[in-house]
């Protein structure tokens, strides 16, 4: 009947359920199918079936359990009670007449709250009387009923614990008496009109006494208990039970241990206050054992933010119990705040996790490995048929052992967290030192002292680590829940059967043979739990495989059945063992098992004891998921109801919240391994929310947690993204630094990036948070997309606030960003970099060729670069002119950004800045490279076009001014005569040009115009050089694929005439080869590839022969000049060269040139620094393009002066002249020579790059006759006309 189910379930495992999700979160408990073992779901009604006459006992247990349940709910009401007085409105003076109404309203509101307190008062009274009655009934010496069972003892202890906690809470909560007094006041006001209020008033007084008396519940319980004076025995039994359990500390999980620790001091006080002999207790339990226990745990957690101190309780209670106050040894125990310094330090060492984290880490690692190997053995076992029975037993036993060990580890660790919290709460930070010194608040709230400033960085780290250990082991164990269950059942079944069938049989045969009543109990134990048929239910063949020889030593063999004992069975077994050892006599002196006077031999006692405690732990193992849930629940770290009340605030800021402190620490700390624990810390919130809803049952707490989680998770994602971005950015930046350079410098390590692992977090697509599933990966991806865009935006903004020279820096930063993107894309899917770049450049449209960057560069050139930069021909650089610009350029201020928008870390930023600084003072070839790379082939033509248009505009603006100068020029200007010498020549030249004196502004503007034209042309020249290099590089890369070979004189030859290029051939042959293969499944794709290769071939070939930008620019300028040709280059009427009357452009430029040369020499005014070399470039280009180069070289004033000077320097020896004058002349001549050299250089470049068409001109034959319209060659090789040395 069971086989089909099993098969069906097994078939499910054939589904592939793998997803590469990292384990970064704790266990989630969806449904708990168990929980029936520790708390019997049927209230032990099945106990009756075993006919042990335990019905009275069972009834009592159930009654106590109900009370415990109720009490816990009362406790959560009290714990989460928040003062409502603060929220009550006050009436303004103008509304005093309605005061009575307000009182009534207030009364009604408060009455609701007070009714809860009244309920608690009533409940505790009834609970105390029931507990007392129960104890009295079961401790009668005559013993008419069976009991109390061990379960019963536990229930008593738990109920006592609930009562103590309630009492403690009532004492601690200050808001309750507060609210009550307010309530009483309103009651007095309201009740004036009522009749018959006496009973209400009486009730009120009762409540007041209850609320204002410390330990009222305990005192009441004491009175109830000692109404009949016979509970001492059971109190002593309870104390002995607690002490032995605590000392053994084997079968307890931490909530039980804490319960015992809380109850013990109160029990001691109660037992000692008895009227009879209080000393009998110390006969059974030595006082030192008690003191040891109290000393071991000076603080015991009670509520998340409220602890108990046994010593303090003993002290406080001694004032209420005069008999107890004689116990000076117990009373001298120091309370936590009274501890002497040395002892406190010892405790500190014991409590702080940071002192144990090393050992815990080792335990964790060791356990994880062993657990995993046990699990894989189990899997292996299930996959093999017919294995050795012994091995099966061993593997399953091992699994059981691992589970027990896991529970014990978890219990110990979680207890550590609880206890550290309690310790921290008991010792607030005395001298808080805020980490952020800038916001130093005047005072700190108590909660800040106990939590926020009470954990230093090391302690936070240790806590994070421990939390993630607890959670990860929890989730590891929870994962295998269903696969280990039957192994656990089988092992437990085997243990029980082994005990009842073998151990008990041996005992019955030997030691108990003579003792009739004891052996009857033992045989009852066998009756109620033995599974005799287990060994016969299997086929005979298997049974025979057992070696018969070992039967004697191992007792009866049985086949383990995967069924666990019920809680009733365990309950009865524990009861019977207890009966055997105690003999049913509470007065029996000594402990339960540690008894010397017993009639049972020590060996058997030991066996019974071990089995007794094992039974206790079986229940926890059977409640697998429920136990795991309890042991990994860390929600208490969030709760702070007690401190909220004492601080009189509604809620603390999240900086004070321990879970957030942990998360924050993980992100902020540079410790790499911790990063993956960040989400584990969020599990604390999950636990807290679960507690708020299920245990405390308070909606408002859940709402507060939810609000905090929402906030925290947002901040977490934000901070995480920042960290990720910074990390990848600095990684990229340090990759791009030159490694050999880094190796050579001393501080190279500063620029290395410590590797971090974000992969796990980046993979996480489901984070479980308060029942929601959050896709962390997509959240991060979204943010990253935004961050990259923001960063691009910032870089462009920054560029816009600087001048054109910053383009190299921009390129550098963009390169880093691109590499960052590339590195991050390996782990995360984000938008492609080009897409983002285009988007931020506003360059998405297919038909727009400008971009944000291109237009910025153009604006920058127009407004700043062309007017304010000057050219240095020698260095090929433009530098900013020293002259103050007439109109200062308006620029936005440099935007601020965090270091991760530059290169990541501040160190890398400074490294890159020192690189960028090298390029910030000039504009030259490197800038042009950056510009070409950034603009690309898409926007560059747009920019070129804009610049060319600018040239033609400039020519148009300059034209009327030149006309003005032309008009002012003398009618006739002859050649400079040689006989006047240099000075004469200069004088004459000045006279010629004196007509321009009144037009100095016009001159300056014309010069500026020419300079700008020259600058643009030179800029084009630079661009041309750079483009050539880029093209060449591309050619080198593509040529082998396209089958191109550079020929002898710049020609490009095809390697195979008419045939396909190597790339096409390659793909074609690959296609044919694949096609011929019959196994080829998809031949069409190969066809496509081959066709695409052909297309690529065409595209790349078309790109090979790109024109020259400079040549194009010159042609464009030439065309632009055509319009003014008639004005600037008048054809001579005579047909001969017009010497004296010419007003052609060359003459104007010649005049302008000699004047500014002279000015620059005489005034030392650095006119040169204003104009630079681009004037020569502009002027000479126009002259050249107008075809006036030869004219210019013939008639240029400075040329003529230099010619004269050459003659003169031969004729006159320098000594004859006035040295001062001579020096002036020398400098001027030097400047002229320089200008001539420059002009020649420009002309030769122009001739090379823009050979003019053959011109027609006049020539004069040697005979003197003019020869019209002859053609002469205008093309000269550039190399022949390079500037001559010394010319």
């Amino acid at each position: 009947m069971a086989v089909p189910i099993e098969e069906a379930i097994a078939a499910l495992s054939t589904f592939s359920l793998e997803d590469d999700q990292p384990e970064v979160q704790g266990p989630g408990f969806w449904v708990s199918a168990e929980g029936g073992a520790t708390i019997s779901p049927i209230e032990y009604s099945d106990v009756a079936a075993y006919r042990l006459s335990l019905s009275e006992d069972t009834k009592a247990i159930n009654q106590l359990n109900t009370l415990i349940q109720e009490g816990k709910e009362m406790g959560s009401v009290l714990y989460t009670y928040r003062s409502c007085v603060k929220a009550l409105p006050q009436l303004p003076d103008s509304m005093k007449q309605s005061q009575a109404d307000l009182y009534l309203e207030t009364y009604q509101v408060l009455d609701l709250e007070m009714s809860r307190l009244r309920e608690i008062q009533r409940w505790q009274a009834s609970a105390a009387s029931k507990l007392a009655a129960d104890m009295q009934r079961f401790s009668r010496p005559e013993r008419r009923i069976n009991g109390p069972t061990v379960t019963h003892l536990w229930s008593m202890l738990k109920l006592l614990d609930v009562l103590i906690q309630l009492d403690h809470l009532k004492n601690a909560k200050a808001s309750i008496p507060n609210d009550f007094s307010w309530y009483k006041r309103t009651f007095t006001q309201v009740s004036v009109q009522w009749q018959d209020t006496d009973s209400m008033r009486e009730e009120l007084d009762d409540l007041q006494i209850f609320l204002s008396t410390r330990w009222a519940i305990l005192l009441n319980l004491h009175v109830e208990m000692f109404r009949v004076n016979n509970v001492e025995d059971i109190l002593q039994v309870l104390i002995v039970f607690i002490v032995e359990s605590l000392e053994l500390n084997f079968a307890l999980i931490f909530p039980e241990r804490h319960t015992l620790l809380r109850v013990l001091p109160v029990l001691v006080v109660l037992a000692a206050s008895s009227e009879k002999d209080s000393e009998s207790l110390y006969k059974r339990v030595k006082i030192n054992r008690l003191i040891n226990i109290f000393k071991n745990d000076p603080v015991v957690p009670a509520f998340p933010d409220l602890h108990l101190s046994p010593a303090a309780i003993l002290k406080e209670l001694s004032t209420y119990f005069p008999k107890f106050s004689a116990q000076t040894r117990l009373l001298t125990l120091p309370a936590p705040h009274e501890l002497p310094l040395r002892e406190a330090q010892d405790y500190q060492r014991q409590y702080l996790i940071v002192n144990h984290i090393g050992a815990i880490r080792a335990e964790h690692d060791d356990f994880t490995v062993r657990f995993a190997s046990a699990m894989s053995q189990l899997v292996l076992l299930k996959s093999i048929d017919g294995v050795d029975v012994e091995w099966v037993k061993e593997v399953k036993g091992n699994t059981y052992d691992m589970v027990v060990e896991g529970f014990q580890l978890l219990s110990r660790w979680t207890a550590r967290v609880w206890e550290q919290c309690a310790w921290k709460f008991s010792r607030p930070c005395k001298d808080p030192v805020p980490m952020e010194s800038h916001d130093m608040p005047a005072s700190f709230s108590d909660y800040e002292k106990v939590v926020r400033y009470n954990y230093n960085a090391e302690e936070r780290k240790a806590l994070v680590e421990l939390v993630s250990y607890i959670k990860s082991i929890g989730s590891m164990m929870q994962k295998v829940d269903t696969s280990v269950t039957d192994a656990l059942w089988e092992t437990i079944h085997a243990e029980v059967q082994d005990f009842v069938q073998n151990t008990l049989a041996t005992m019955l045969r030997t030691t108990f043979r003579k003792k009739k009543d004891l052996s009857r109990i033992l045989s009852d134990m066998r009756t109620l739990s033995a599974d005799w048929m287990a060994n016969t239910s299997k086929p005979e063949t298997e049974m025979q495989s057992y070696p018969h020889s070992g039967e004697e030593s191992r007792g009866t063999l049985f086949y383990p059945r995967p069924v666990a004992p019920t809680s009733a069975q365990v309950h009865c077994l524990q009861f019977l063992i207890y009966e055997v050892v105690s003999g049913g006599n509470m007065r029996k002196p000594g402990g339960i098992f540690g008894n010397s006077g017993s009639e049972i031999p020590i060996n058997d006692l030991k066996q019974l004891e071990t089995f007794f405690y094992k039974l206790g732990f079986f229940l926890h193992v059977l409640d697998y998921t429920a136990t795991l849930g309890t042991l990994t629940d860390l929600g208490f770290l969030w709760f702070r109801e007690f401190y909220l009340e004492s601080s009189r605030v509604i809620q603390f800021p999240i900086e004070c919240s321990l879970p957030w402190m942990l998360v924050d620490h993980v992100i902020e700390s540079p410790i790499i391994g911790l990063l993956e624990s960040a989400l584990m810390s969020f599990d604390i919130y999950n636990d807290a929310a679960q507690q708020a809803l299920v245990i405390l049952k308070q909606r408002f707490l859940y709402d507060e947690i939810e609000a905090e989680v929402d906030n925290c998770f947002d901040i977490f994602v934000l901070k995480l993204c920042e960290t990720i971005f910074t990390y990848y950015k600095s990684w990229a930046a340090s990759e791009l630094l030159d490694p050999s350079f880094l190796f050579a410098i001393d501080i190279g390590e500063k620029f290395a990036v410590q590797p971090m692992r974000f992969v796990a977090l980046l993979k996480t697509t489901r984070v479980k948070l308060l029942g929601r599933t959050i896709n962390l990966r997509s959240l991060i991806a979204d943010r990253m997309n935004k961050m990259f865009r923001d960063n691009l935006e910032f870089l462009f903004d920054r560029f816009e606030s600087q001048d054109l020279c910053a383009i190299v820096e921009l390129e550098m930063l963009l390169d880093i960003l691109q590499l960052t993107h590339e590195l991050l894309s390996k782990d995360l899917t984000i938008d492609s970099f080009n897409l983002m770049l285009n988007e931020m450049q506003e360059n998405v449209s297919l038909v727009s060729y400008s971009s944000r960057l291109a237009s910025q560069i153009w604006t920058e050139m127009q407004n700043d670069f062309l007017p304010n930069f000057i050219l240095c021909n020698t260095t090929q650089r433009f530098v900013r002119s020293a002259r103050v610009p007439p109109v200062p350029v308006q620029k936005p201020s440099v935007p601020y950004a965090k270091p991760n928008f530059y290169c990541g870390t501040p160190d890398l930023n400074s490294a890159y800045q020192s690189f960028a600084r090298l390029y910030c003072g000039f504009f030259g070839v490197p800038h042009m490279f950056s510009l070409v790379k950034l603009l690309g082939s898409r926007s560059l033509p747009w920019l070129i076009r804009a610049l060319l248009d600018n040239i033609s505009n400039k020519i148009t603006t300059v034209e009327p001014m030149i006309t003005g100068l032309q008009e002012a020029l003398l009618k006739s200007i002859g050649l400079l005569p040689f006989d006047g010498g240099i000075s004469g020549c200069m004088r004459l030249a000045k006279e010629h040009l004196s007509c321009w004196h009144s037009k100095s502004e016009l001159k300056a503007e014309v010069l500026c115009g020419i300079k700008e034209i020259g600058s643009i042309l030179y800029w084009m020249g630079l661009l041309d050089i750079v483009l050539r290099e880029v093209d060449t590089r591309q050619f080198m890369q593509t040529a082998p694929w396209l089958g191109l070979i550079p020929g002898a004189d710049g020609q490009i030859l095809h390697s195979q005439e008419g045939g396909d290029s190597p790339m096409v051939t390659l793909f074609k042959s690959a296609t044919t080869a694949t096609m011929s293969n019959p196994n080829c499944t998809n031949p069409t794709s190969f066809h496509t590839i081959s066709r695409q290769a052909e297309a690529a071939d065409l595209l790349y070939k078309a790109n090979i022969n790109t024109g020259s930008v400079l040549e194009y620019a010159l042609a464009f300028t030439s065309a632009a000049l055509d319009k003014y040709c008639s004005k600037w280059s008048a054809a001579p009427k005579t047909g001969f060269i017009d010497i004296t009357t010419s007003k052609d452009f060359y003459r104007i430029f010649s005049g302008l040139q000699i004047e500014y040369l002279e000015e620059s020499v005489q005034l030392q005014s650095n006119t040169y620094e204003m104009l630079g070399d681009s004037v020569a470039w502009g002027g000479c280009t126009i002259i050249y393009l107008l075809g006036q180069q030869l004219h210019f070289e013939l008639f240029d004033f400075s040329h003529q002066v230099l010619n004269v000077a050459e003659v003169e320097s031969v004729a006159i020896s320098p000594t004859q002249k006035n040295p001062n004058f001579l020096q002036g002349i020398e400098v001027l001549l030097e400047a002229m020579k320089k200008a001539r050299r420059l002009n020649n250089h420009v002309f030769s470049m122009l001739k090379a790059r823009c050979p003019l068409e053959d011109k027609q001109a006049c020539a004069i034959k040697q005979s003197g006759a003019p020869l019209h319209r002859i053609k002469f060659e205008n093309t000269v090789s550039a190399f022949e006309t390079l500037p001559q040395k010394g010319a």
């Binding site: 189910i5 997803d19 199918a33 013993r143 995967p562 049913g584 998405v844």
Partner: protein, 85 residues
């Protein structure tokens, strides 16, 4: 002194206990398998979710790319003159 224990009808109880063990074996078997089934469902949901997340991520990328292409095409079709050249 009243001793505890003393199952009144030990043989009957023994037989009942034996029957109980056998019945419970069946119950345990069923309950374990139901839990396994449930476990499977939970895991199936989780895996499916993360597979869907991966798919969603890819769709997101495609969608954004498509959006870009659409914008580009629309800019191009808004200027038909470009295609007449």
């Amino acid at each position: 002194m009243a001793r505890a224990g003393g199952i009144t009808n030990a043989v009957n109880v023994g037989i009942a206990v034996q029957a109980d063990w056998e019945n419970r074996e069946f119950i345990s078997h069923i309950s374990l398998n139901v839990r396994k089934l449930f476990d499977f469902l939970v895991q199936f949901e989780a895996t499916t979710k993360s597979k869907l997340a991966t798919l969603n991520e890819k769709l997101d990328t495609l969608e954004r790319r498509l959006e870009l292409l659409e914008v580009q095409v629309s800019t191009a079709t808004a200027n038909p003159a470009l295609f007449n050249v």
